[in-house]
């Protein structure tokens, strides 16, 4: 027990500092990936809701593929696919070796693409939950399409979207551990490094699980607070 405490201490010879720093990387990776996913998701939701065939078809395909294929496979596609392309470009300029993609950026992109597919469904459902009369009323008020979207629809849509977004966020946080396979030193990878070098896998993976759990719990309550705030002043079941 004292051994474990010593290994995980923040001071000299302890891994606590490295693990906390890696937890910070996990958090940053997840937040940026989630935000990128919000962008992809909003565009895809727009596509799904479009009455034209092509955008709706493309958005549906995007959702089906990235929600149906293992996330690990998507991560391999982006990392190896991107690196192979980069290596080819490198060869053209006379470089001989394998050029790896920057792992943090690849991780953000992977999480963005995967979570975007899930977020699209959340936004689409939330849009459909907003009363059609709101759109008609804003038109009657003389708002342009963009104005009514920004001032009337999106603020109301977010209320309905928050619970679903909270679920996607939890998914993203846990998915970020998979980015360890391409070598980014986030919480999972740092625990593997610690476990290997101290030969104490149990201590390190318990520590990692605890940190993931803490981030999930704290951020989960932020979402619940946001939800309560978004619905304040309304009466609902």
């Amino acid at each position: 027990m004292t051994d474990a405490l010593h290994i995980l201490s923040v001071g000299k010879g302890g891994w606590g500092g490295a693990l906390l720093l890696a937890a910070g990387v996990t958090f940053a990776l997840s937040v940026l990936g989630f935000l990128l996913g919000a962008l992809f998701g909003a565009v895809a939701a727009g596509g799904r809701l479009s009455t034209r065939a092509l955008p709706s078809w493309v958005a549906k395909g995007y959702g089906t593929v990235f929600r149906g294929v293992p996330d690990l496979l998507t991560i391999y596609l982006l990392y190896y696919g991107g690196s192979i392309a980069l290596t080819e470009i490198g060869k053209f300029f006379g470089s001989a070796g394998f050029v790896g993609l920057p792992t943090f950026a690849t991780g953000v992109l992977a999480i963005g693409i995967i979570s975007g597919a899930y977020q699209a469904e959340v936004y689409r459902g939330a849009y459909l939950a907003v009363d059609l009369g709101q759109l008609e009323a804003s038109k009657a008020l003389g708002l342009s399409r963009f104005q009514s979207l920004r001032l009337v629809i999106v603020p109301q849509l977010m209320r309905h979207a928050l619970p679903g977004l909270g679920n996607v966020w939890q998914l993203v946080l846990k998915d970020s551990a998979l980015i360890s396979v391409i070598g980014l030193v986030e919480l999972m990878r740092q625990s593997q490094i610690g476990a290997g070098s101290m030969r104490e896998p149990f201590v390190f993976y318990i520590a990692a699980a605890t940190l993931y759990f803490l981030i999930a719990t704290v951020t989960g309550s932020v979402f619940r607070y946001g939800e309560a705030r978004a619905w304040r002043g309304t009466v609902h079941a």
């Binding site: 149906g68 596609l77 551990a177 476990a195 104490e200 699980a209």
Partner: protein, 230 residues
């Protein structure tokens, strides 16, 4: 650009991992469902000594990544080899195959128990009262009234969980099991053709998931004939 001969070459290789993927998914979904049902039912009585540990188990397995769970069970418990050997469980925790199944089963049991708990609570109270007015015992009420309705209600959500599990089996490749994703990764690093391998392996997973979704939809329609035309 896209080379069909290459697909013809890699698809049999990828398919050789399919039995393992299906085994991992099938066993862990089956074991996980049995556990989930047990955990959901155990919480119905509201005994604090029962509910509290189950809630904690569910919170921990839902709040941490599956990859951490697999590593904790495979590498973490490996550290306690003498103890595990003493209690005769070492054969189980020595094998990445069983470790992956244990981790996947516990993970899906945690998510599944919440789905089933919600579905059981969703059964109208009046039906349970009617059943007891009918003279049914608690077990009869559960078997003949509550569970059939709750399980049918749970099909769509449980379907999502099953899809997540099929995708989750890909993590077994990180603990050396060569299922479809593991083989795909090997092929990518040998051939440097990430897109083609992704398309081929992705198609295999989409086919599995599509089959499961269609089967569950058919099951739901069959169980709710009066809603079939809605």
């Amino acid at each position: 650009m896209i080379d069909f001969a290459f697909f013809v070459e890699i698809i049999p290789t990828l398919l050789s991992g399919l039995p393992l993927t299906l085994q991992l998914a099938g066993l862990s979904i089956g074991i996980g469902f049995a556990l989930a049902l047990l955990l959901a039912l155990a919480q119905q009585g509201n005994h604090r000594m029962l509910v509290w540990p189950i809630r904690s188990f569910v919170a921990v397995f839902r709040g941490t990544p599956l990859l951490v769970q697999i590593f904790l069970i495979y590498y973490g418990l490996g550290q306690f080899r003498p103890t595990l050997q003493a209690v005769g469980l070492w054969w189980l925790f020595r094998e990445p195959y069983w470790c992956a199944i244990i981790a996947l089963s516990l993970n899906t049991a945690a998510y599944g128990s919440e789905i089933l708990r919600g579905a059981i609570q969703g059964v109208p109270r009046g039906l349970v009262e009617a059943a007891s007015a009918f003279g049914m015992t608690r077990l009869q009420t559960l078997r003949l009234v509550v569970l059939p309705l709750a399980l049918r209600q749970a099909i769509p959500s449980y379907g999502n969980e099953i899809i997540l599990m099929v995708k989750g089996t890909s993590l077994a490749s990180i603990v050396t099991l060569m299922e479809v994703t593991g083989i795909a990764q090997g092929l990518i690093s040998q051939t440097y053709r990430a897109v083609e391998v992704f398309v081929a392996a992705g198609t295999i997973y989409l086919t599995i998931n599509f089959t499961i979704i269609s089967a569950l939809n058919a099951l739901e329609t069959w169980l709710t004939p009066y809603r079939a035309r809605a």
